[in-house]
């Protein structure tokens, strides 16, 4: 990777060419939108609310299904290869078996890695959140590792009693990396309408407000596992990225920032490198907390 920024899953991933755009505009790696075996239309609008300081979404994992997603991924892969930017294919499923099947399908597009989205808060009763129970998370990792040859990353939720326990379980199961964190469950109500704003009533919180939660999760996990972490959650600036790396991340996910800053990826990358230069850091790995 030319820089440690990773376009987070769910942003722009609808189109392969948009992933290429993210690669051209400053991402060191890109993640596609999570796809499932069958197409999903997601929830009705409103599905995404952008406010000062945070975003709440309940898109509901809409995607065209793994078979169609392969075409988008192949297009992304073709364009990103020219930029030297790896493509991470994100998958979601309702069962361990379906995770393995979806992984096999997206592998046709030759992604550089697979992200297991086992922590989306927006699917309600359709599927349990595998990342809530260590054993379940581990089973998904084992099943997917059995069918694919590329690195597998487990995306975890902070909304558990102990994220470290889940992280250790996926590491032991053979995960090659961890993406921490997914959004936090939240809700918005419009008082005058006397209704939740999101049609799904609840959604996942992202954006600046998520950063302290993400920093803490990444910090705690990094002290207990050896595998690399893509620290994701609330990174809006280069300084936020520095903090995430200091917390223990090896790479930094960028998502909601895209809607707050027209050229978020390029600017965050430049700010990160400017911070390093000004403060005498020659390597990303040098960004560490004082002992």
């Amino acid at each position: 990777m030319g820089n440690p920024l990773v376009l987070a899953s769910g942003i722009w991933g609808t189109s392969g060419l948009l992933l290429v755009r993210a690669a051209k505009s400053g991402a060191g790696a890109v993640t596609s939108k999570s796809c499932s075996l069958q197409p999903r239309e997601g929830h009705k609008n409103p599905t995404i609310v952008l406010l000062d300081g945070y975003v709440l979404n309940a898109v509901g994992l809409s995607n065209p299904g793994a078979k169609t997603e392969v075409e988008e991924l192949a297009e992304a892969k073709k364009g990103c290869l020219k930029e030297g930017v790896p493509v991470i294919a994100s998958i979601f499923a309702r069962s361990v078996e379906e995770f393995a099947q979806a992984a096999q399908i997206v592998m046709e597009a030759k992604p550089d890695a697979i992200e297991l989205n086992m922590s989306c808060p927006n699917v309600g009763s359709e599927g349990r959140m595998f990342a809530c129970v260590s054993e379940d998370a581990a089973k998904v990792v084992v099943a997917v590792k059995n069918v694919c040859s590329v690195p597998v990353f487990a995306k975890l939720t902070p909304n558990v009693t102990d994220i470290v326990e889940v992280a250790k379980a996926v590491e032991e199961a053979g995960a090659d990396g961890i993406v921490a964190i997914n959004t936090m469950p939240g809700m918005l109500i419009d008082a005058k309408a006397r209704r939740p704003i999101l049609s799904n009533r609840e959604g996942g919180l992202s954006g600046a407000a998520l950063k302290p939660i993400a920093l803490r999760a990444v910090y705690s996990v990094s002290r207990e596992v050896e595998i690399p972490i893509i620290g994701t959650g609330g990174v809006m600036s280069g300084l936020d990225a520095v903090e995430m790396l200091m917390a223990g991340a090896s790479a930094v996910g960028v998502g909601s920032a895209i809607s707050y800053r027209k050229n978020a990826l390029g600017e965050i990358r430049d700010e990160l490198f400017a911070f390093m230069k000004e403060n005498g850091y020659s390597k990303i790995s040098g960004l560490k907390l004082q002992e």
Partner: protein, 252 residues
């Protein structure tokens, strides 16, 4: 920003299926900008601004949401997220603003603003037949076209544009309507070397560049537009398909 609660102050019939809905809202967005209109319990969709003071939207009852929106009455409320997007930036004095179907709303607004500034707009409004035409803009030169000749010039808006371009010197063309119509207008303007801006419409989940649902290849209609230079018509995906709520490509 939290959505703004707005009361409907007036509903005007444009034709059988299309209404223009006026709301009490102090915003003064530019022609081309749009809102995500939320009708609680029904849904939320993007709508281009069809005028200000009072703010208004032209709605054609085509789907579940627009049927409900178009049937709303004075005194009922809608909620607005926005305004979002870029807007028309006039690059000449003599402007032809072409509206197809409910795309006419924002075109009349653009023409009204141009007229106020002292420019010389011409509004071209087209439909299949007389009963499907939108209304003209008072005080602005207006040309109507219908495919069957039941009102105005027989033919489509592109025929009308060709005629105008033959007869007078035009600085710039704006268009909003079905993508195929905008494609034809854009191509003609590129060929004739006339500046042209197109106001695009796509299915959206967010309206501010996150979901990617409104993509035309690497371009996002909400984030990079919705107003684009005519050269967008040369994009291999333009006029071919859009993406549905699952992100599937659907032929236009």
């Amino acid at each position: 920003m939290l959505p703004k609660e707005c009361k409907i102050s007036k509903v005007e019939d444009e034709n059988q299926a299309t209404k223009t809905i006026f709301v009490e809202c102090k915003d003064k967005p530019q022609p081309g900008q749009f809102y995500m209109v939320w009708v609680p319990g029904v849904g939320q969709k993007p709508f281009s601004v069809a005028g200000v003071s009072p703010l208004r939207f032209s709605v054609c009852a085509v789907g579940e949401f627009s049927r409900k929106f178009a049937s709303m009455k004075k005194g009922e409320k809608i909620w607005l997220f926005g305004p979002y997007g870029n807007f028309f930036e006039p690059q000449g004095k003599k402007i032809v603003a072409i509206g197809g179907g409910y795309g006419t709303g924002p075109m009349r607004y653009a023409a009204r603003i141009a007229k106020k500034k002292g420019d010389e707009p011409i509004v071209v409004i087209g439909a299949r037949s007389k009963d499907k035409l939108m209304k003209g803009e008072t005080g602005v030169r207006t040309v109507f076209t219908t495919d069957d000749g039941s009102e105005g010039m027989k033919g489509n808006v592109v025929d009308a544009l060709k005629k105008i371009l033959q007869e007078e010197k035009i600085d710039e063309v704006y268009a909003c309507g079905p993508e195929k119509m905008m494609g034809a207008v854009g191509k003609l303007c590129i060929e004739k070397k006339i500046k042209c801006q197109l106001l695009l419409e796509r299915y959206m989940k967010c309206g501010f560049g996150m979901c990617g649902q409104c993509s035309i290849g690497e371009i996002l209609v909400c984030f990079d537009g919705p107003v684009f230079d005519a050269k967008i018509v040369e994009h291999p995906e333009f006029g071919k398909f859009h993406r549905d709520c699952a992100g599937r490509k659907v032929l236009l």
